[in-house]
């Protein structure tokens, strides 16, 4: 046997991961605010608030992470979330009452509505081969338009009391808000599915090299449909949770949601080119804007600075990722050459 180079140690691997580097950034931001304004920033109550505000985005982030790992994108989540919330609200109004029975009906309706939009996205992407950017830009408009048509542009504000008190501003355990608890469940399940199951493995493989995935017999189309359906279904969950939190369908309130979630996912190290990403990174990527916003308000800086800061973090994060990819490309020169050589004869594969 040949002399083997020592395998990369686990610590080196962790340190190299973008999600870890970005975690250090988050910790640094947190520490700065804690030093500046510790008695108001670093409190249980304030962290509770931050977690609560990030919860719904986190649920959307799980779906978006899967989608982006397949080298796709889902711009429709904000609109689908609104549409699902409207459907959920309509069903609950029609049913009437303030109890769990009504609430569960609304939850089911909202999730089903989101799932349906996700399936539409998935089928158009996988079967009709329309680029995901276009498909989900289209359904973004359609879902929002239909939500406005259904409500005639007037927000529905009737939400069962039990939803508001138990889910919207209730606690899961101790001081942990119910919304954060629910988000945590989705994050853990999403992370486990992505990193430990065959479904997750195939998600990476398709994003990494779709043609290779097809050749080893993966059902790529079906998998992509499932991934977009998950993203839509989670937007349905987000829709009903938002209803519980704010007691309104907030039709106009989600126009930036898709971009905020995509930014978080990308900041967290998931590559828009596919094949790379973690749920953990997405969580960290979500907390950076959330903590910045909260911290700026507390220390008395105009909160608009948050958008400026997040924009800069996003660009830096992608730049770092780009550098890393370029380095990997240089390492793989032999392959690039051999592929070029192969292209003369096997160009334009099926």
């Amino acid at each position: 046997m040949s002399v083997q180079a020592p395998p990369t140690s686990i610590t080196t691997r962790i340190v190299r991961v973008q999600a870890f580097q970005i975690l250090l950034v988050l910790i640094a931001i947190w520490v700065v605010f804690a030093i500046l304004e510790g008695d108001r920033f670093a409190t249980v109550g304030n962290m509770r608030l931050v977690a609560q505000n990030a919860a719904i985005l986190a649920i959307l982030g799980v779906g978006m992470t899967f989608v982006i790992i397949t080298a796709g994108i889902d711009l429709s989540i904000g609109s689908v979330m609104v549409f699902s919330g409207v459907i959920g609200a309509k069903v609950m109004v029609a049913q009437g009452g303030d109890g769990w029975g009504t609430a569960w009906l609304g939850i089911a309706a909202s999730v089903a509505a989101g799932l349906a939009w996700g399936l539409v996205n998935g089928v158009l992407v996988a079967k009709a081969k329309i680029p995901p950017l276009i498909v989900t830009l289209g359904t973004l408009g359609m879902a929002l338009g239909l939500a406005q048509i259904i409500t005639k542009g007037v927000d529905i504000r009737e939400v069962p009391l039990v939803m508001q008190s138990k889910i919207g501003y209730g606690n899961a355990f101790g001081d942990v808000p119910m919304l954060a608890g629910i988000a945590l469940v989705f994050l853990v399940v999403g992370g486990v599915v992505l990193h430990l199951t065959r479904f997750g493995r195939h998600t990476y493989a398709i994003g990494s090299n779709e043609e290779a995935a097809r050749r080893v017999g993966l059902k790529v189309d079906r998998h992509l449909i499932a991934v977009y359906a998950i993203s839509g279904g989670l937007a349905g969950v987000a829709g009903i949770l938002s209803l519980a939190q704010f007691a309104t369908t907030a039709i106009a309130g989600q126009s930036q949601t898709n971009l905020n979630v995509i930014a978080a996912v990308v900041i967290g190290g998931t590559s828009l080119f596919g094949g790379v990403g973690t749920i953990f990174g997405t969580v960290v990527g979500l907390f950076i804007p959330a903590v910045l916003q909260n911290g700026f308000i507390i220390v008395g800086i105009q909160p608009f600075w948050q958008q400026v800061a997040v924009g800069a973090v996003l660009i830096v994060a992608v730049y770092v990722d780009q550098l890393r990819r370029a380095a990997a490309q240089r390492g793989g020169r032999t392959n690039v050459l051999s592929r070029l050589r192969g292209r003369e004869s096997t160009s334009n594969e099926e």
Partner: protein
């Protein structure tokens, strides 16, 4: 070795627009032999391999496996028959590690409920992959890094190990030594012989006539989408092979 072919193509044709990649091509390979498939660039070698491995539909012609006509419509059907392929472009997922690539589409699941829920048995796949690489003498130094960050030779070794590991009837190697150094090439040629000695049919595409002569039992020559010659390797020469490829010495067999 006068057995009937394990895999046989009769009169395969395939056009891409106005390009005729295969023009009534015949081909056959028997169990336990190495057939070298040679021909100029664009002769149709890769197209033939794709047609026989479920990656390309042909316009006309017949494929027989074990003497019976078969429709190899997808790579999954090919795998089911025990046919594996190392493609010219390797077809690896660059972001996945060697183990994940090795078992892609054939993941080993955890036993019991966990497996039913979709959980993979990472440890078992790791052991299996390590064995396959060792068997090949492949210098896969690190099972934890994405194959995209590895050298061309290592990637090629991984693709070959994968095909050889899963093939039990036929393995296609489309220019498997193109990115390899001398020692790695020797490893691949050794592997080809070892696989053949296990009774598997090996189809080896190469532009290197010394390698062809060294490792093959028979040589079949494609020119302009058609098989123009078949040789017993022991009874031919490089000059004769090159002549058949280019058509300079007139048509053989």
């Amino acid at each position: 070795m006068s057995e009937q072919p394990i895999l046989e193509a009769r009169g395969l044709s395939r056009r891409f627009g106005h390009v005729t990649a295969l023009d009534g091509a015949d081909f056959d390979v028997r169990p336990g032999e190495v057939v070298a498939l040679i021909g100029d660039n664009g002769a149709g070698k890769s197209t033939l391999v794709k047609a026989l491995s479920g990656n390309l539909a042909v316009d006309s012609g017949e494929i027989r496996f074990d003497g019976k006509p078969v429709a190899i419509e997808t790579p999954t059907v090919a795998s089911g028959l025990g046919i594996e392929t190392v493609y010219q472009d390797l077809a690896l997922a660059p972001h996945l590690d060697p183990v994940a690539n090795m078992f892609l589409g054939r993941e080993v699941m955890r036993p019991g409920v966990l497996g039913a829920l979709g959980f993979m048995d990472a440890k078992q796949m790791r052991v299996g992959a390590q064995e396959a690489f060792d068997l090949l003498g492949a210098t896969v130094t690190d099972l934890n890094v994405p194959v995209g960050s590895m050298s061309g030779g290592q990637r090629q070794a991984i693709a070959i190990a994968r095909a050889v590991h899963w093939a039990n009837r036929v393995v296609f190697l489309d220019e498997p030594t193109a990115a390899l150094g001398v020692r790695q090439t020797a490893n691949v040629l050794d592997t080809i012989r070892r696989v053949r000695d296990h009774g598997v049919a090996v189809v080896f595409i190469s532009h290197s006539m010394p390698h062809v002569i060294e490792v093959s039992d028979r040589v079949q020559v494609l020119r302009m989408g058609r098989r123009v010659a078949t040789f017993e390797t022991a009874q031919t020469s490089m000059e004769e092979l090159v002549g058949a490829m280019t058509g300079v010495n007139g048509e053989a067999a």
